[in-house]
Amino acid sequence: MSASVLSVRDLTVKAHLQGETRTLLQGVSLDLAKGEILGLVGESGSGKSLFCRSLVRLLPSSLLKIEGGTILFEERDLTAVTDAEMLKVRGAEIGMIFQNPTSHLDPVMRIGDQILEGIRYHQGINGRDARAAAIEILAQIGFPEPVRQYDSYPHELSGGMRQRAMIGVALSCNPQILIADEPTTALDVTIQAQILKLLMDIRDRHGLSIILITHDLGVVAQTCDRIAVMRGGRLLEQGLKRTILSAPQDPYTVRLIHSHPSMPDVALPAVSAPAPSRAATRPLLEIDDLHVRYPTGGSLFRGKNARTVGALSGVNLQIMPGETVGIVGESGSGKSTLARALLGLTPISSGHVSFDGIDLFQQRNAGLARLRREAAMVFQDPFNALNPRLTIGQTLAEVLKVQKKIARADIPSRVDELLDLVGLEREFVNRKPRSMSGGQCQRAGIARALAVDPRLIIADECVAALDVTIQAQIIDLFRKLARDLNLTLIFIAHDLAIVRNLCERTVVMYRGEIVEDGRSEDVFSRPKHPYTAALIAAIPDIDPDRQLLGHTDAASLEPIQSFKRMP
């Protein structure tokens, strides 16, 4: 590591709201060495994104101002240069890539041309040479057929390829520093491993410095040289990766490391330890050769030759009362479709789903009535899952009123009870989702599911949108609820570490089929199917000595399209 390319001293950013001034970044000092990958870790709202945006003066609102400090970059203070000079720094010297490549790529411009633009503007190369350079970059960032794919539009690419294209656009300007803001958060683990490997690859080849913003300590452990931990606009500590991970100083860092779900040693006991004797009890949920197909391409006048796409093909599954089952798989593997089919929210094409002995296909009305009274769902996006116009109290009371399981007079006290159960203060009765955090909304969503007084709860990716420490809290809540209320829990997630922590049984799905089903310990320690093995190998472990494996295996698996994103 040579001298630092970027040196930030006492950077302070304040927001000037009506009548009050809030400090968003307080005296942050950081150095970035040449060819170094710095991991910036923290929860949402910790100011890590804001810090990086301040570097290139792209503050998200005019109410925010850089109040103090210096940003030294190539012997210039970036806080003092003019806007015209700043324009040259952005892109040309400091490139950025973001979490969601879909919204940061121009949808009506070919990928190649988007890269070409940077080359022409910042490197001054034109014509055929520029095109050749763009194709060279496409090859570097792992496009298998760069000449043909030069003409692809963003919507023709998968999420992983789009993120690669974003990196390509950033590289086209030949920057010295690359700021990557949660570049892999929206991606599946196997794709994440590929992108992280690509970033390290680029660092080695171009010698550029990377600031990697992430909330996943596993990602940091696998890729970064140094770690900086932020919280509430302050830099809590920074240091070499191994030092921080093995001997964290700040209590918050300790908590962050311990809430990382891949910690294998603190193996919490799986939920209901002695599995109920399976022969004796009847399965609560029985799925037999379930197929779900969606029509595509058909229309009113071409109804007959409408094609279908199978989202689930031949799923067999039995779930016993009191079991905690995790369903894992990448996006598009049919996990969510399975969840919706189980609750009768998606029409079944063929096969059988029976809930507590009632077949949902044959006795649809009776089955659904039963299901609505005894099963409930918790959703992925906590903000979208609650009606924004109703207070939490109204939301819960409505469920109780419709379900008619308790007398009307008892509803207010039951609402309080439910809030206690999920660990929300009682004053949340009068709050609306908009004024609550993601974790609080998710707790309210769980309370709503519990209001049904269900035997079965299906949680669909319900922690994917939350910060790690909040994730750990919600997982703990589920563990407690499943134990105390004797719930059957189906927990759908793409994060294998969470499933291993919470569930006694794991089901792995791939392309609409169940490829593996067994006790979690067995599945994770001795995977039978190569896909499961590839999934497990792609989890970034918090131990830096356990290298990311599996990218070669995973690359052979073709990308699959998710049905959730289909029109």
Binding site: L50, P60, L345, A376, A385, R434
Partner: protein, 283 residues
Amino acid sequence: MSAGTVSSSPAGWRLRLSQRLPLVIGAGILLFFLLLAIGAPVVAPYDPILQNGATRLQPPSLLHPFGTDNFGRDLLSRVIWGTRIDLQIALIGVVFPFVIGTIVGTIAGFFGGIVDALFMRLIDIILAFPFLVLMLSIIAILGPGLSSFYIAMALVGWVSYARLIRAQILVLKNSDYAVAAVSLGFGRFRIMFRHLLPNAIAGSIVFAMSDAVLVLLSGAAVSYLGLGVQPPVAEWGVMVAEGQSFITTAWWITLFPGLSIVCLAFGFSMLGDALGELLGVHE
């Protein structure tokens, strides 16, 4: 970017000045016209339909601040009395289409399939005719008058509201909270009218405010053609029409009722914008 957004207070009612100003102006203007309409007998200095040959076509003066028209009627009094009719036109002409369109749109969007197809084709048919031509033919069948105008407005005007609401419902019915409502065993009408509609309606309310202006203008147009408000009743649109033949010699006959229409329209659109902010349409 949670760090960058300005968090609203828990109640969400404490607004910034830039948001509050249009609300105050819009509501103020409408309130002013409402008071004027209610107090017309007291406020108006003259009888609005009393003709007086001695005071024909007088320009604005202290005695007649807005001047007089070709029958010698005091224009200020006529504008004040006209407020009654015009507010009524804007209100009734919007409320009925709004209610009908919202219900139809909600049902079409929620149920989809054949119900949706039928309503949408009906809307296509209505939209295929020029708005005014359709209005005029309905009024011609029912006979001239204000009530015919309201009926015609209700029959033709609901289509825009139906389309607006339907599009919203189509999006919202796939939202997680709608799916959650289904999975919790809520009835269809509860989901439609308690969960989806309140979240979908904000855009329609804002649209209704700007639509009120259009209704006002079509009321004036229909009256101008002799099918709406009948003379000698004072109505701004009719007054503008009456002043047309004197526009070069007695500009005040057209100007003041015209300005009143502009003011009322401005009030509605300001209120529409403010409501849009308040109801979170732009979020």
